[in-house]
Symmetry: C2
Subunit: 429 residues, 2 copies
């Protein structure tokens, strides 16, 4: 029994308008998932998250981080509280990552063996061990609707050989993840609540910046058979056109009838572009992290250019990767906003733009008032969710495939990658 995923329409470019049916509800795809690292989307109350965005539909699905929740408050505590949905009072779909990326980016003194990864907590230095089986056990205890196979993330840049070896380890871990999950999936804390429904498990395609390895990784994972497929190890410092190329070259080898998820992306223009290419799910800390640093997204006015290059912490936010400027990044601390009575984005219908001025948001940021982080986060999330809403509307409208045609197109998805690639480029070919 697979994860029910309906695709109602698809565009020439491969973008798909779909609905993912998960135990905690239906999710309209393509979907952007706000990140709730520690069982909270930072600074945003759950009741607000349920209403965010111009249409008031709120975030339909969020992500929580396995690594963070294992360290604090601990997955066994969350299991006893009924799972992370009940713990945080979020009754809509949720996804947990595998913990792999955080182990590689946050933890100290990592030691990787075929068995798993030993590391020390970035919080207090205490020792942990994650294996594929541990990651599954933790994610079952957390009880998100979608969980991710445990993977290794290779450093960037890495050689072809190093990337291939890491990918092979990821494949072995994916197989062990699937075995453990299939033997234990009934242990999810809410098993009795949704009769017959349990969690879904996605595999993660690795392969670094090498198209041949991406293809090999996709093919191996598809052979194993997962409920959905993620593309991992991107947006880790490589140029944006490489990210885009890797996504395109991986999508070719993933089945059309399963959800495809690109992890940890991206800027507003990027998430729209990836969705149009056929990505169904994305998540990123960018809207909330940028918000806490006073960086707010808004639509560009006709002919407007991005005035400056901004920093978020140590990350540079450079020019828009497409070279176009449809989205402006406002640094709310700039003095030009001190008496600006306009909303962040006059074209935005979010609760922040309906009520508060740039002048007030600048004051909150300069005075380090916690309300600043909250309002900035609400706007940036609304901006992201609204982009996805527009992309979904466009995909539905542009589609030349619908109803039976889309079903036939999906049935073709077990074709070889090359044929698929051709079909995606021109679905009538």
């Amino acid at each position: 029994m697979g994860l029910p995923f309906e695709i109602g329409a698809a565009s020439d470019a491969g973008g798909r308008r779909g609905v993912l049916h998960l135990p905690h509800g239906a999710v309209q795809t393509p979907v952007f998932m706000p990140v709730g690292t520690a069982a909270t989307v930072k600074a945003v109350p759950q009741e607000t998250l349920e209403q965010i965005g111009a249409d008031g539909a709120g975030a339909e699905m969020i992500l929580a981080n396995t690594y963070h929740l294992t360290l604090r408050p601990g997955h066994e505590l969350i299991r006893r509280m009924g799972g992370v949905h009940r713990f945080m009072s979020w009754n809509r779909p949720m996804l947990t990552d595998s913990g792999g990326f955080q182990v590689f980016s946050l933890a100290k003194l990592r030691k990787v063996t075929d068995e798993g990864v030993e590391f020390r907590s970035h919080l207090d230095g205490s020792k942990y061990f994650f294996s594929p089986e541990h990651s599954m056990e933790i994610q079952i205890a957390l009880g998100a609707d979608v969980m991710m196979a445990f993977d290794e993330c290779v450093e960037t840049p890495a050689t072809w050989e190093r990337t291939r070896d890491s990918m092979s380890l990821t494949h072995a871990w994916a197989r062990r993840s699937k075995q453990y999950f299939e033997a234990h999936r009934e242990e999810v804390p809410w098993a009795e609540k949704f009769e017959g429904k349990t969690q879904s498990l996605f595999g993660i395609v690795q392969g670094g910046m090498f198209p041949d390895l991406r293809r090999e990784s996709a093919e191996r994972l598809v052979e194993m058979g997962f409920d959905g497929y993620a593309i991992g190890g991107l947006a880790v410092g490589e140029p944006p056109d490489v990210t885009r190329e890797m996504i395109a070259r991986t999508l070719e080898f993933l089945p059309r009838d399963k959800p495809r998820y690109v992890m940890g992306v991206g800027y507003p223009d990027q998430i729209a572009e990836y969705a149009r290419m056929g990505v169904d799910m994305m998540d990123c800390v960018l809207p909330t992290r940028a918000a806490r640093h006073g960086l707010l997204f808004r639509k560009a006015e006709p002919g407007e250019r991005q005035a400056d290059e901004e920093q978020i912490g140590e990350e540079s936010i450079g020019e828009n990767w497409t070279g176009e400027t449809s989205v402006i990044r406002m640094n709310i601390k700039r003095v030009e906003y001190a008496e600006d009575q306009r909303p962040i984005d006059p074209a935005c219908g979010c609760m922040v733009c309906k009520r508060y001025t740039r002048a007030y948001l600048r004051h909150l940021f300069m005075a380090r008032e916690p309300l600043g982080a909250t309002l900035n986060s609400i706007h940036n999330l609304a901006f992201y969710l609204d982009i996805m809403e527009r992309v979904r509307a466009t995909l539905a409208a542009e589609s030349r495939l619908s109803g039976e045609q889309a079903a036939a197109w999906l049935r073709d998805s077990r074709d070889s990658g090359d044929e698929l690639d051709q079909a995606v480029r021109d679905p009538w070919a």
Copy 2:
């Protein structure tokens, strides 16, 4: 033309159920005003503040701090933005303090002369000068519905002589405040919006811990004639029974037909008690400051005792001053709450208690998640507002004075203090 203040009912103990009619709306009294120091009630969005509390009525009136807003973003900026209501998008009544207390508690290198106070900002050391005229000018620029005469706050403990001299300075400053206000009240930024309505000015009774000085201060201010009277210089470290005694001994000499406001109080039991004694308005940072330190108020269960003594920053929160324990202070960081699936207060109907568990709130606090401060603040404010709602209901129900009787009782309020005192003890005497 005075400030319209209707008193509908009064209890034997002097407590009054009233309505204060201000330019930005009507306020049910006795009222507790959450503190919005820097034009934000810390960590709580305005839309939430409008709905907080079991009855969904929200905070009817809030306070903003003149000292903080003068330093950042500056009162001239706020004037240009249309006043603090419009600046922060709060369309209900608001009060600004005089800046006096903050100058004495926060600022550096104060130098007090008859003319005013020179001091340096606690933010960046830059030099400021506040006189009664400056305080009025600033408060008119901010444009709160109620503004406060500029006062000096004496240190605690202080001798009778030192307290009398300081009180005399406060009286001279009150007179100058009133003169400036009467000459400039039409300059409020929203003067055109509410035809004919302008701000109100309250005098502040000082006199330290000396009943004779409190009486003298009340009498001098009443001679000058203000729209309402505040009792200042309390809750500055003296024992709670002294605070209560000073309030009682001051209320005796304040006219019954004007609002009476005790500044900067108090614990939940205290605000209920003061309201029953005849105080109409109170404000305090305690519910929000305690919330940010993880201290949550809830009703005691029958026979329950406060288990421990908690600290908020450097302030000790000792045993309930009444000796009774009707309110429990929970320190949410305690391990006993780690898996406690109950709401903070099972008897509370606030949005936090309806949705979130102690276990989740403890996790947010331990993980230093900003949502913790927000949810804790919402609950504590709801707890305070609900107390005042119950006190108002009790005052209305208990009253033996209503309608014409209350009106007659109010007309007596120009009697001498002693007679007033007698009348308050037994209004039928």
